[in-house]
């Protein structure tokens, strides 16, 4: 276990390992340990073994499909998988079996990846701790009393715990980067539109983006490259060529200018996080990067703007769960009664809260005060990033203001929302962002460093992360699960 995908495929090439034995090892480890971690909602043992056997034949014939052929991968249970139930962590979709694959899943299958199963999440991707799945919470492999972050906590914990070699999640306000930081793995949210959202169950359509979790930056580059690119099924996917991200990794950071935003080191942030991130910045400086202070003054207001825009879009997207075409139905005396009973029984507390909030901010008399205002603030956030990126190549910042917290510690919704204060601006502006491990707290909890780049400049984000990773040894530390 704990071998990155690029090392597994090297071993397949040499004949030292086969996709079948690796898939069997992962499935055995899931069987033994996932009861403690709770990373998965569904494990597709037979499908995984069948895919692994096919991959093995290709490797043996010397004709693998590419760098993910035979890689054991987990997929967040918000991406549709044909014939395999897709729950979104909700009772509403407990028995929903999609008739088609999400484009990401389709591309993974075409690349020869071995999909192990579907990972846990906060219901409908609303949350930052993966405590609020309707099925079970996920635990952080570094400390089982703590949360893995969220909402893609199952994918992050699977990669951190050696229960998948790589994984995919979705990031609407930080749902890939924050759990990656909490679990000590690499996590990337690409530019909005870089990866097709077709078959991704919608939370907030103007913010959602799919991205990878990886054991190291090289794998992140491979996992992104395999699924990126235009898709006629998603009109918002960008028609731009996909670079060979892995080939660009070794270009280094010498000569790059990294922007350091004052607003990402506010009073009251965890001093251990601040220290680790500032030390990480010193490492990048030592590698030849120039550091320049930048200002993103609207940052403190991004959270409030997000918590208007996200619930507004979510309340509209989740209107489709009405007990008619798919999902739960609870009988009622008429149509409205049936819909109300269905939605009340199918949705959990946080989902109801956000639907209510979104409907309120869109309702007559409040639209301009909340929704219109938030959209203008979104413009300011975008403009400030654009101005900063006119001067610097990348922005470097903490991923989260704190280390992983205990299960049950954050009861107040607003205190939970504050977890995403450094990741939300990236979604509002649509730019790519990545979290790479940059150290540990005294208690041994992982800390993440965030790199943000210009739209479609994933290659440079990955390249800086790679340079940092190669200069440090954080990735050699692994949680001990037994």
């Amino acid at each position: 276990m704990y071998r990155p995908i690029h090392e597994l495929t090297d071993a397949y090439r040499r004949g030292d390992l086969t996709p079948t034995t690796v898939a069997e090892d992962y499935l055995a480890r899931i069987g033994k340990l996932d009861g403690k971690v709770g990373a998965y909602l569904t494990v597709v043992r037979d499908q995984a073994l069948a895919a692994a056997r096919e991959s093995e034949l290709r490797w043996r014939a010397g004709s693998p499909r590419g760098p993910l052929d035979g890689a054991p991968i987990a997929v967040k249970d918000v991406l549709c998988t044909a014939g395999v139930r897709t729950t979104c962590g909700s009772k509403m979709l407990e028995r929903f079996v999609p008739p088609f694959d999400a484009t990401t899943v389709e591309r993974l299958r075409a690349a020869g990846a071995v999909i192990l199963g579907k990972t846990n999440l906060d219901e409908f991707a609303m949350g930052s701790s993966t405590e609020h799945s309707a099925y079970h919470p996920t635990r952080n492999p570094w400390d089982l009393t703590r949360v893995p972050g969220g909402s893609s906590g199952g994918s992050a914990a699977a990669v951190a715990g050696g229960l998948a070699a790589g994984a995919y999640g979705s990031d609407t306000g930080g749902s890939i980067r924050q759990p990656a930081a909490f679990c000590g793995v690499v996590g990337m949210k690409p530019t909005y539109g870089r990866v097709s959202r077709y078959g991704l169950v919608a939370l907030a359509s103007s913010l959602d983006q799919i991205g990878p979790f990886a054991q190291d930056v090289t794998d992140a580059a491979l996992l992104l490259g395999a699924v990126a690119g235009h898709d006629p099924h998603d009109a918002t996917s960008i028609e731009a060529p996909v670079p060979d991200y892995a080939a660009e990794l070794t270009k280094g950071v010498a000569g790059l200018t990294l922007g350091l935003p004052d607003e990402y080191f506010p009073d009251g942030m965890d001093p251990e996080v601040e220290r680790a991130v500032r030390q990480g910045i010193e490492v990048l400086k030592g590698l030849g990067a120039k550091i320049e202070r930048v200002s993103l003054p609207t940052t403190p207001h991004a959270l409030a703007a997000y918590y208007v825009i996200l619930p507004a879009e979510a309340s509209s997207n989740l209107a489709r769960y009405d007990g008619v075409k798919y999902g739960l139905r609870v009988a009622g005396r008429d149509l409205i009664d049936m819909e109300s009973r269905t939605r009340s029984a199918g949705f959990g507390a946080e989902v109801k809260r956000r639907i209510m909030l979104g409907t309120y901010v869109l309702s007559a008399g409040y639209y301009d005060a909340y929704y219109g205002k938030a959209q203008s603030v979104r413009t300011l956030v975008r403009r400030e990033f654009a101005a900063a990126f006119a001067k610097v190549d990348l922005i470097v910042a903490p991923t989260t203001p704190n280390v992983p917290f205990k299960h049950g510690e954050k009861q107040d919704p607003l205190s939970m929302y504050l977890n995403d204060v450094f990741t939300i601006p990236g979604n509002l502006s649509g730019i790519p962002g990545l979290s790479v491990p940059c150290g540990f707290s005294a208690a041994g909890l992982p800390i993440g460093l965030q790199l943000l780049g210009r739209p479609l400049d994933e290659a440079r984000v990955l390249r800086a992360a790679y340079a940092y990773e190669q200069a440090t040894s954080w990735r050699s530390r692994r949680p001990e699960l037994s």
């Binding site: 918002t236 207001h301 209510m356 909030l357 901010v361 975008r382 919704p413 979604n427 509002l428």
Partner: protein
Amino acid sequence: MIERKDVEHVARLTRLALSDAELERMREQLNSILAHLDTLRAVPTEGVEPTSHAVDLVNVMRDDEVTACLPQDAALANAPDPSGEFFRVPRIIEE
């Protein structure tokens, strides 16, 4: 501050049947969240265009051609109450 009747109104709009206790908790939590959202008022946005989307897209068009689509049985497979080739719902129209 939003009041109980506002919460009841929004619950009706969203088709959520909330218990008394849920309505009360929702009122408290929404007020606490809205107090934070109200901090947006301090941001000067006069004359700032709204952003609805991170990508500046104009309409995406394609040729009006018939292409493969989901077969009817697959589209109905997840329906909680299918009837023949239809999705069945409780009676809407009075006799």
